[in-house]
């Protein structure tokens, strides 16, 4: 579904991604782990071209989206993204946040989008927040709404960049539960996280990135019970 070929990204002369070749298949739940500053976010953001790769290609459903003629806006509609800082639109109600993209992109009528928003809000038990503004919500509620805002576009894949890192500990669970539900329903997911239990339970494959290179990848059992790379061992001993 997503493929990177010789993907490189530098900021100035700081080489952040070093020749990454990776294929993510439909239905996979990829978990990306690694030290801070290793390039995890940059990798994720290259997949939907929020960062422009310095060289190499990103293919989505077989289409080279790094090609100059590719319609990136159209392709992004199929790739939902969830950010560490939620990035809800503070000047809009929860319902308007969810309806905005489907309506403005002509995918749904206002009525359809409203129904969809209601349906999604009921799903996460926040239907009474439809008319609330984001600042009236807890962190966990904000992030769950950011997730369903992305779901309203019916994406084929969801990208998560440390979705629980900005949350108070007691709210991490509700967000991870929603993500686990999505995984159960078969959503293709790429998740950057420090929640190792989530990686073990939900992940189908774990990538360990260090200094812009995927130095080891394996099933969760392989990564956590039988790590081979020394830096992965060091990393795990610090976070587990």
């Amino acid at each position: 579904m997503i493929e990177t070929r010789n993907l490189n990204k530098s900021f100035g002369d700081n080489l952040v991604l070093n020749n990454i070749n990776e294929t993510i298949k439909k239905g996979e739940k990829i978990v990306i782990i690694g030290p801070s500053g290793s390039g995890k976010s940059t990798f994720l953001r290259c997949l939907n071209l929020l960062e422009k790769p310095s060289s190499g290609d990103v293919l989505f459903d077989g289409i080279n989206i790094t090609d100059k003629n590719a319609n990136v806006d159209k392709l992004r509609q199929k790739m939902g993204m969830v950010f560490q800082q939620f990035n809800l639109f503070p000047h809009m109600t929860v319902e308007e946040n969810i309806m905005l993209a489907p309506v403005k992109l002509g995918i749904m009528s206002k009525d359809m989008a409203k129904n969809k928003a209601t349906e999604l809000l009921i799903r996460i038990g926040l239907q009474e927040k439809a008319q609330a503004y984001p600042n009236q919500l807890s962190g966990g509620q904000k992030q769950r709404i950011a997730i369903i805002r992305a779901l309203a576009m019916s994406p084929e894949v969801m990208l998560f960049d440390e979705p629980t890192s900005a949350l108070d500990p007691e709210m991490v669970g509700e967000v991870l539960d929603l993500m686990a539900q999505l995984a159960d329903e078969g959503m293709t997911m790429v998740v950057v996280t420090h929640e190792m239990n989530f990686a073990k339970k939900v992940g189908t494959r774990v990538l360990f990135i260090d200094e812009g290179i995927i130095v080891e990848q394996n099933s969760p059992e392989g990564i956590f019970e039988n790590p081979k790379n020394q830096r992965l061992k060091d990393f795990l001993s610090k976070v587990l």
Binding site: G80, F83, N87, L100, L105
Partner: protein, 229 residues
């Protein structure tokens, strides 16, 4: 006391002098009004061009925007006014009021551009990214997500800029426009008492500025209502 009354009476009533203030006021308001509109349009366009140029690293466009902004902000308004006036005055039938409005508009545009740019840049980058990640294009995200939020930060300094502009139109007299200030000076030259007409003119400016301040405060309060963050 009666002398004071007499001098204000002389500055206002004989020969229908109050009409001169009103005519001058009309011209001041006309110039200000069109300059504000032109300045806002020009400023918005330049601000959007500059922000886009910075985001997409279009060096040439950024250079052009900065050239305009720096030249206008780096030279005195009165000199700009005289240059434009002389440029255009070489042709006949110049409409001085139009020249004034255009000149003040071009001048104000540079300040408005920087106010709007700063307002847009004050919005968290994550807002643009969230919009783009949903599939909205750059301009849609700007218009629907970034700009409405920036407006709250833009409005107070923008109102301030309009107020400065209105007061600065008082130098329009140097290009042979009989605005409020010039009208007051004409009357002073008749009555041989410069203070009363100037004080009357000052009061007129004060009333306009205070009125505008009230309107702007109303806008700000309305924007702040469904407030958040």
């Amino acid at each position: 006391m009666t002398a004071l009354y007499q001098s204000f009476y002389d500055a206002l009533i004989p020969d229908g002098r109050y009409m001169s203030y009103i005519d001058g006021l009309k011209i001041t308001i006309t110039i200000s009004f069109f300059a504000i509109i032109l300045g806002s349009i020009l400023g918005s366009i330049v601000a959007i061009m500059k922000v886009t140029a910075i985001n997409y690293k279009i060096k040439f466009l950024e250079f052009l925007c900065n050239l305009y902004i720096n030249v206008i902000r780096g030279t005195p308004l009165m000199v700009q006014l005289l240059i434009i006036y002389n440029l255009i005055f070489t042709s006949r039938n110049t409409n001085e009021i139009l020249v004034g409005a255009v000149c003040f508009g071009i001048n104000s545009g540079a300040y408005v551009a920087e106010i709007i740019r700063a307002g847009i840049e004050s919005i968290d980058k994550g807002q643009m990214e969230a919009g783009r990640s949903l599939g909205l294009n750059y301009l849609q995200t700007m218009r629907l997500i970034v700009f409405p939020q920036a407006l709250r930060n833009i409005l107070p300094p923008l109102g301030n800029e309009f107020i400065v502009l209105i007061k600065e139109t008082s130098v329009a007299g140097i290009i042979a426009v009989t605005d409020l200030t010039k009208a007051a000076q004409y009357i002073a030259s008749r009555t041989w008492e410069p203070l009363p007409p100037l004080i009357i003119a000052a009061l007129c400016y004060l009333i306009i500025v205070l009125g505008l301040t009230k309107v702007l405060n109303m806008f700000e309060r309305r924007l702040a209502k469904g407030d958040r963050n």
